[in-house]
Symmetry: C3
């Protein structure tokens, strides 16, 4: 079962991902119900960082199929877990990830974890030790509810939403991941996962951001690998207006500079000049036939990342996108735990 973990959609084959997306669509349309397929199954969710959509949509997903989720919210710092090997645990952490994972695996049928542990450097943060530690020491499947590097369930919902709007043949469709200004430096898990999702679908992928805001080179390599297999193309842009022109999908998301990770004043200074990286009606009007769709993972800061006019206009699919979290996760849970 270990190989069925959803640490990152990267771990699954293209065929597996497309099968999941097909199933998610069937579940949404009630072509498949599977009302009791998870009866007696328990998903243990561990949130080291808080959540609204993820927690609710997973809990409802289990309930829709007769199963249950148990939600553990140790909270920031409330359950400090040691992740290093061989350490003498005489400081804050009272529990080691080895025991936490092994024990939870005895209680539940799958473990789901959200954690972006604090780190001093990107070199350290990018190791994504918490989610990997749970996967290494658990005997049951481990689902990533968002880690430092990936938010695979968001990526699945994103792909599902794009297919709902444009069908399954996405050759030639232009997907623009557009960096946005935001008052705080946010993680790159969502933008990386969204771009990988679009790459899997074979779209023409553009990543637009100001200088200094490159994604992790490994993530860019993963996007390119997916595109090589799917037949899409890749480009980068430092000009937002240029990037969104003719787009089919504008996916806005802010993230912090990885080069300046851990150096808050320099990072803020690097971000400051780019408040104009915001999606407004004019930019959406410049999309293909003025009919591109606007995507965002939510929560979104109105009139900072995107204007009210876009969110209330014909372009926005953000509520569908959030709803599709539910259906994509139903498909995932049925695949992992549904006994087929």
């Amino acid at each position: 079962m270990k190989e069925m973990n959803l640490l990152a959609t990267d771990d699954w084959s293209d065929k597996e991902i497309l099968a999941l997306l097909d199933r998610a669509a069937k579940l949404k349309s009630c072509a498949e119900n599977a009302e009791r397929a998870l009866a007696g199954k328990v998903l243990l969710m561990v949130f080291f960082d808080p959540s609204l959509r993820t927690r609710t949509s997973f809990e409802v997903a289990m309930l829709k199929h007769g199963g249950h989720a148990v939600c553990l919210e140790p909270g920031k710092g409330a359950w400090p877990i040691e992740m290093r090997d061989k350490v003498v645990m005489d400081e804050d952490a009272a529990e080691h990830i080895v025991e936490a994972a092994r024990v939870l695996a005895r209680y539940g049928d799958a473990i789901a974890v959200r954690a972006f542990p604090k780190a001093e450097t990107w070199e350290e943060a990018r190791q994504d030790q918490m989610i990997k530690g749970f996967a290494r020491h658990s005997d049951v499947p481990v689902i990533n509810l968002e880690s430092t590097r990936r938010h695979p369930c968001q990526g699945l919902a994103d792909a599902m939403t794009i297919r709902e709007r444009f069908g399954t043949d996405l050759r030639g469709k232009k997907f623009v991941l557009s960096w946005a200004w935001h008052p705080r430096p946010l993680p790159t898990a969502v933008p990386a996962s969204a771009a990988i999702a679009a790459a899997r679908l074979g779209m023409e992928v553009t990543v637009a951001h100001p200088p200094g805001f490159d994604l992790d080179p490994d993530d860019t390599a993963t996007i390119r690998d997916c595109l090589n297999r799917s037949g899409g193309s890749f480009s980068e842009s430092h000009d937002l207006d240029d990037a969104v022109e003719g787009a089919d999908v504008v996916y806005a998301k802010s993230w912090g500079s990885l080069e300046l990770f851990g150096n808050a004043p320099a990072e803020a200074e690097c971000r400051a000049p780019h408040r104009n990286w915001r999606i407004d009606e004019a930019r959406m009007e410049s999309t293909r036939d003025a009919a591109g769709i606007f995507m965002h993972c939510l929560p979104v800061r109105r009139n900072v990342v995107v204007t009210d006019g876009v969110l209330e206009g014909p372009w926005s699919v953000v509520t569908d996108q959030a709803e599709n979290r539910l259906h994509a996760q139903r498909a995932l849970l049925l695949s992992l735990l549904g006994g087929e």
Copy 2:
């Protein structure tokens, strides 16, 4: 369905309220079971302010009928939500109520919200923006779990408890809402809702409080409107001994001065002389045939709001009142979600 929201019992007709109360009594006595009537239904509860009785009784109410509640407890300040229109969200709030309500409405069959958002002035607080915002932007029913102005489920349980003790013909029965001293200025949601409930039932309603502690004029007007329809009467009193004499129901509850809302020192000074506004055995002995009932929504400060002797004596119905939250809410949920 929108019209079936329970924002305040004010929104429901007298006939609807009485039907709910009848059903609640049947559910309590097991004359109706409806064991699976909410199977597959999910209630999403959002607590911006903490809760013991409300959370437990709603969660159990869903379970009693085969449904489930998901309980989100963002906690005070942990999930700051923007409620204003058109604002540029570059400060604390990372999510707008529009998105929160729309998304939750995709995940659940109903949304229940407890929120008394901080406000500088009563003019601002009395708008009750959070609960109204959820109702405006949700496509599924919204239930008020206590807002700044109303606690309708408490009002339903109060009415149910009075009918249990005195039957359904409550003409001529005297209901006294009695202000009590308390170390902090509390909201008026419970006293307003209790008085409205008694007014719906056609009782002789007296609101007793020291000078400076009037309810909001709109609430008093609502109480009077209900009494005009139900045939009861209204009076106010500044003399507690006089008010409780001959009462059938003594409903004790503290609240802060609305005139001095936001001015903590002046409010405390205004409250200070009234520590004698406490229900003791002598006051209960002065009720009709010494057999009036003592009501309180709980939690209650013993020997501050009411003496041990009253709570342990023959008068107190506070535990029944708390239990009736469960049954009133079962009736409510079956009406909103039971598919009839």
Copy 3:
């Protein structure tokens, strides 16, 4: 039903405890399933102190039999409850334990409570007022999820684990409760409960600890009473190497000095010289045939209380012990609520 509370395993007869352990083993091996035996039943769990294993294992235990647990986590200090009689509640506490217990008993089929309330002196703490208060005022069974003095469900899981390894005839088997150094003074609930469990099983019980770390004299008396009935023996030791030699079970656990309770600097000074009270491979090699088992309730500080080598070696049963919480609690809940 009151006599069926599990305040402490002390309250149950030896015969009742052994029957519970037999049933737990059957549930674990699927010789008994009882899949719907708790259908419609609700367990209300109140955690005044946080929990991972206890909360999860109880929630899953209810789900395994068709019931549900509602988990209330007021958090440290967030729901200050008054426990004293006759007090004028004009300070922090807004609710009295009398009302809390009575109301929860109306909503659920059983109440489970974890609380180690702060106290100035051991004389005060050892009264265990919170769990006893809930039991006194509740009309439904009350389960102790760990109080200042006892952790009975841990004791049941400990006993079950020992029987799994050594069978049900434990005469002559040596059980060593071994104090361990730890950076903080921990409660004695787990060590007392573990030693009582071993005493019930009729083992040769040794309690090893540095001078100044005696268990409460009443706990030692309870251990001796159990051993008098079960036919085992009791000894104490201040020499860890000597104590573990030839042991069948080494149960490591740290606890603070009761003599110095409330005097943090003196207690820390008393504890400081004993960092060598740690279980390592050499000590486990000295157990009977080098095949003794290592037990700990978890969470455990690696390389402080026990070395990595022991936890990863052939001796450790800590994950089984944690799993057995689930099965022991299933047996308990079925006995209390299963309607037989």
